[in-house]
């Protein structure tokens, strides 16, 4: 069976959930071969094997952390030459998309980004994408070279499927471009203790209607009662009420959770672009005419400062 390269997104060997989802998708089109770059391969290999990786190619070098993007492209290119894969799958993070694009160009291949589903087709993998702020669903394929496809988080279930997971060293030679962009300093983001926004099953968001940084505790309390991630509209972020890393929308994170709860958010097209593919959508807004209500499965027209705390109490009571 054809091999499919899966780029592993991890933090020091802790594999992030979107990579495990890619392994599920990879198994639909071939045998997953994971590529793990940087430290922690031993920890990662076991998890990758449990989820279907027949092989884990690893390389570690200071270049991966000290320079932007290109060293990882050099490594993936080496992996693609070693394996001749039927496709290369990369998680759709900002970095993942850059890696995928450069790799595709080097392999003389087309690139598809932000796939939300992947199936085997007669002439290679078929990717489902949402276009124009999710108003359209398209089916695309790469018509030249090795398909390089980035896939959005939450596009497939994580399924255990034990495989060999044989670890092999990958020989990488860095090209002249690899050391072009130096990372002079890195400040790790403080963990909030809440689920990662793009991976969370439930996202609770606040917008301009939250009316102040201090009021975001109302949103956070609801999120915590549901075990959810906290999102924000750009209006709330621009006002400085919540960090940009929590922004949902076209220029923020694109989320596709089981449940999205929008509070005090009007539903502008750029916000919708980042949440419209959520399975169930709920909104609280005091304006019955707010466009967000066009999207909802359940909406409450009312003041969020009345509705949200009551909902939080109710959730806590029901969960016991």
């Amino acid at each position: 069976m054809a091999e499919v390269l899966v780029y592993v997104d991890h933090v020091d060997g802790a594999v992030r959930k979107p990579t495990l989802e890619l392994l599920t998708l990879a198994r639909r089109i071939g045998e997953p071969v994971a590529v793990h770059l940087g430290p922690g391969a031993d920890t990662a290999a076991a998890v990758l094997a449990e989820h279907g990786a027949v092989k884990v190619l690893t390389a570690d070098a200071p270049e991966f952390a000290d320079y932007l993007v290109v060293p990882k492209v050099d490594a993936l290119e080496a992996a693609a030459k070693a394996v001749s894969p039927a496709a290369v799958l990369v998680p759709s993070s900002a970095e993942g998309k850059e890696i995928a694009a450069r790799l595709a160009l080097r392999l003389g291949s087309g690139v598809i980004t932000d796939a939300v589903d992947l199936t085997a087709g007669d002439s290679g993998p078929v990717a489902t994408q949402s276009a124009f702020a999710a108003a359209f669903t398209t089916k695309s394929r790469v018509s030249k070279g090795t398909p390089v496809i980035t896939v959005k988080p939450n596009s497939a279930p994580v399924e255990p499927a034990p495989a060999a997971g044989t670890v092999e060293q990958l020989a990488v030679t860095f090209g002249p471009l690899a050391t072009g962009t130096k990372v002079v300093q890195r400040t790790e983001r403080k963990a909030s203790g809440r689920p990662e926004l793009t991976e969370a099953a439930i996202v609770v968001s606040g917008g301009r209607g939250v009316n102040g940084a201090e009021n975001f505790s109302v949103i956070e309390q609801l999120a915590d009662s549901l075990g959810a991630a906290v999102g924000a509209s750009r209006a709330a972020v621009d006002a400085g009420w919540y960090p940009h890393s929590n922004q949902v929308g076209q220029t923020g994170k694109s989320v596709s959770p089981q449940l999205y709860i929008a509070n005090g958010i009007s539903g502008a097209i750029q916000h919708r672009a980042g949440m419209q593919t959520s399975k169930t959508i709920v909104a609280v807004n005091k304006d019955a005419e707010a466009p967000i209500f066009d999207l909802v499965d359940f909406g409450v027209v009312g003041d969020l400062f009345q509705v949200v705390p009551q909902l939080t109490e109710e959730v806590k009571a029901r969960k016991g």
């Binding site: 124009f132 398209t138 030249k144």
Partner: protein, 261 residues
Amino acid sequence: MSLRIVVAVKYVPDATGDRHFAEDLTTDRDAVDGLLSELDEYAVEQALQIAEAADDAEVTAVTVGPEDARGAVLKALQMGVAKGVHVEDDALHGTDVIGTSLVLAKAIEHIGYDLVVTGMASTDGTMGVLPALLAERLGVPGVTLLSEVAVADGKVTGRRDGDVASEQLEASLPALVSVTDQSGEARYPSFKGIMAAKKKPLESLDLSDLGIDPAEVGLAGAWTAVDDATARPPRTAGTIVKDEGEGGKQLAEFLASQKFI
């Protein structure tokens, strides 16, 4: 020494309009008015600020697209860019991102550059990969997704706010940078700027000017194929209740019925 800055700007259908695909599954550009991608306004702004901070610098805006895509360059000229270049050719219809990056790279080499500035993503294709492809093609460092950027002493520095960390980056010129919408509000064209733009040079180029074989671009030359585009079915109308003191409880009831609690 003059600093040559080229800013890539895309003309896109207005996102607040009813955007569609045409019969050949390319963007229907006739259905909705176009404009300069709002995210490229940030690129123009940063290009202008970098030029203003330099002793001697010139900014050129370049776009690849059909006739009305000139509008994107015109807006950049109105904002303060000195020169414009529009690559237009019938053979370009349906070009994918790989082909677009080829045309842009050739055009940028034709113009001559020390620094290329782009937006973070277009507001129609929204792939966010063109900057990386351009850097790869031009063979220069890519310093991408910057929320802060500065150029001094032949070096570009900037801050990239990522998922797990915020990074301070540095590269030597020539280089490519892409900037996010966190990089600072874009200026509005002044009346003077709008009048001045009419007299600024706006060069038109076609594929033969750039030495590109038409077979490498367009729908036929694309390395990806869209086989199907379906409008998302309208969501079935949801239940909407007015809060009369029990809104939170009603919402909880709904969430429970859907097994979320």
